[in-house]
């Protein structure tokens, strides 16, 4: 029985790994209820998972298509406000809010892309930076919908009109969406569109010669990245239950970029690792240390140093450390065998 399970696990990699990861994450509320871990840990982990979804989208854009967006925070924020407006103000169902709150930012993203992706270079980065700042201004100024600086509230989601989720339930929903996004990412990058994106990033000449419509594929990957950001925003809104303009500043977009650089470009597991480091370590470890914990902005210093170190030693992200660890382990075992024999 056990070996059967093991065979299933091995033959269905990486889906089985994703599933196992999801199951392990889903155990967290249980641990909280048993009193084994702190109540606040669930909030930290949930936000890490939400940022992982957003960062996966950006990794598709940066790692596979070679484009940079600085508007991640703006599109995420737009997702939060839209879903809050639709569920709380209009009283419409969560599912409808989810669809609209992902579709509208995606549409705006496509419009931005239509203009800025025609030209080669970093115009997307500049255009998205501008859009993000415009959006933040909208969150402040359109106070009849957004409540301005006081922010906007929403409730835990009610699924299918009758299944009211609580905090733990919403957390499980976040885990579900993360695993779904991981599976979708994995499938996409290993299909013809994923190869086309990689080709476009590696050589535009080869891409055109092989019949890849570069403009269309740039737009496509940007649209996917924006919709993952907006999805992250929707989940954030219904877990944190509160959004305000200053949560969606450039700093957040840069942090998401740091997730990819630190964790691993072109790597799903690297993105998750990066999210745990960038959004987890400051909250879970740094703040608890003596002296360092009391410094304001210690997290920024930590992230900055880490980016420098990672670029120096693991230019493709910390996830590649596992190869070195494996190699050293093997060496260690070999030496042990030599000594024994």
């Amino acid at each position: 029985m056990n070996s059967k399970l093991m065979n299933f696990y091995k033959s269905h990699k990486p889906y089985s790994q994703f599933l196992l990861f999801g199951i392990i994450l889903s155990l967290l509320p249980l641990l909280v209820n048993l009193g084994l871990v702190k109540y606040s840990l669930l909030t930290t982990v949930a936000s890490i998972l939400i940022y992982s979804i957003v960062a996966l989208g950006l990794n598709l854009l940066l790692g596979y298509s070679g484009l940079i967006s600085l508007g991640t925070a703006g599109f995420m924020g737009m997702g939060t406000y839209l879903t809050a407006f639709i569920t709380a103000d209009l009283g419409l169902p969560f599912e409808l809010a989810l669809i609209i709150s992902v579709a509208v930012p995606m549409l705006i993203g496509v419009l931005t892309g239509l203009v800025s992706l025609r030209i080669e270079g970093y115009y997307l980065a500049i255009a998205t930076l501008a859009i993000s700042e415009i959006l933040r201004k909208v969150f402040v100024e359109f106070d009849f919908v957004t409540n301005g600086f006081s922010g906007k509230q929403a409730q835990y989601p009610k699924l299918l009109g009758f299944l009211q989720l609580d905090r733990n339930g919403t957390y499980i929903l976040i885990v579900f969406f993360l695993i779904l996004v991981m599976v979708m990412m994995h499938n996409l990058v290993n299909s013809h569109t994923g190869r086309a994106l990689s080709t476009m990033r590696g050589s535009e000449a080869a891409a055109s010669a092989m019949g890849i419509n570069i403009y269309r594929h740039r737009l496509l990957s940007f649209a996917i990245a924006v919709s993952f950001s907006a999805l992250g925003g929707v989940l954030y809104m219904h877990f944190v239950k509160y959004t305000y303009p200053n949560a969606w500043i450039l700093m957040l977009s840069l942090n998401i970029l740091a997730v990819i650089v630190i964790g691993g470009v072109r790597s799903i597991s690297g993105t998750i690792l990066g999210a745990f480091i960038v959004f987890g370590v400051p909250d879970l470890i740094l703040k608890r240390l003596p002296i360092i914990g009391s410094i304001d902005g210690a997290a920024y210093i930590f992230n900055g140093l880490l980016i420098i170190l990672v670029i120096l030693f693991y230019p493709n992200g910390l996830i590649n450390m596992r190869f070195d660890i494996q190699r050293n382990f093997r060496k260690l075992f070999k030496r042990g065998e030599d000594l024994n024999g």
């Binding site: 979708m184 994923g194 190869r195 990033r201 010669a209 092989m210």
Partner: protein
Amino acid sequence: MDKMDNKVLKVENLSIAFGGLKAVDNLSFDIDEGEIFGLIGPNGAGKTTVFNCITQFYKPDEGDIYFRTNTGEVENLVGKKTHEIIGKGLVRTFQNIELIRELTVVENIMVGAHVEFKASLFNQFFRLKKTRQEESRIRKRAEEILDHMGLLSIKDMLVAGQPYGVLKKIELARALMLDPKLIILDEPAAGLNDSETLSLVNIIKEIKMERNCSILLIEHDMKFVNGLCDRICAINFGKLLAIGTPEEIQGNEQVQIAYLGKEDD
């Protein structure tokens, strides 16, 4: 457009200028079906520019490029989008190898059949039946081509770090994925040693025989061109010098001057 019988490509009065420099000047030639056609000329003669005009990487200032497509119709390629060209049955390789380092050998070759994939984005996201079928069908074809070139053993290795001769073969393999009518090779033998060049000559001859396609190639190595091509077109400063069989070209005085310079009396 008259007289396209037995012709796969007909270049007529092609001209393109960069600023004041006429890189290609009123050039005309045509390629028969099943022919290996060489384009030669000294450095800077405009050979690669001609290729870039045919494949629509550059938009020529003047002239027409008629091509007999997969469906047998004759179309003018001028004004078509770069990414539309491969679908007509015309595919190229590059002087400086353009392969994707992050992809494996077989994945690089599968990119060559990109236009054949029809599965929707949704279908790919969830790896549904159509995606799986297409993937396995095209992967199999890629592996057959690799096997033919003796590269099957490295199919799952990354392209980064492969030797130069192997990279050239991989690029050629990628060009074969869609069974093109015309393959354009930009200096296929550049940087290869003698035995690699010999193996490439055999591969190109095999491709022509088995796939029943035409090949247009640029090359510096005269031995390579003479041994392989049915006809050769020599150009210099973007202008036509001569078209003919390898023997005719070797005997042509103007070609000799262009290559070796004129002897002072």
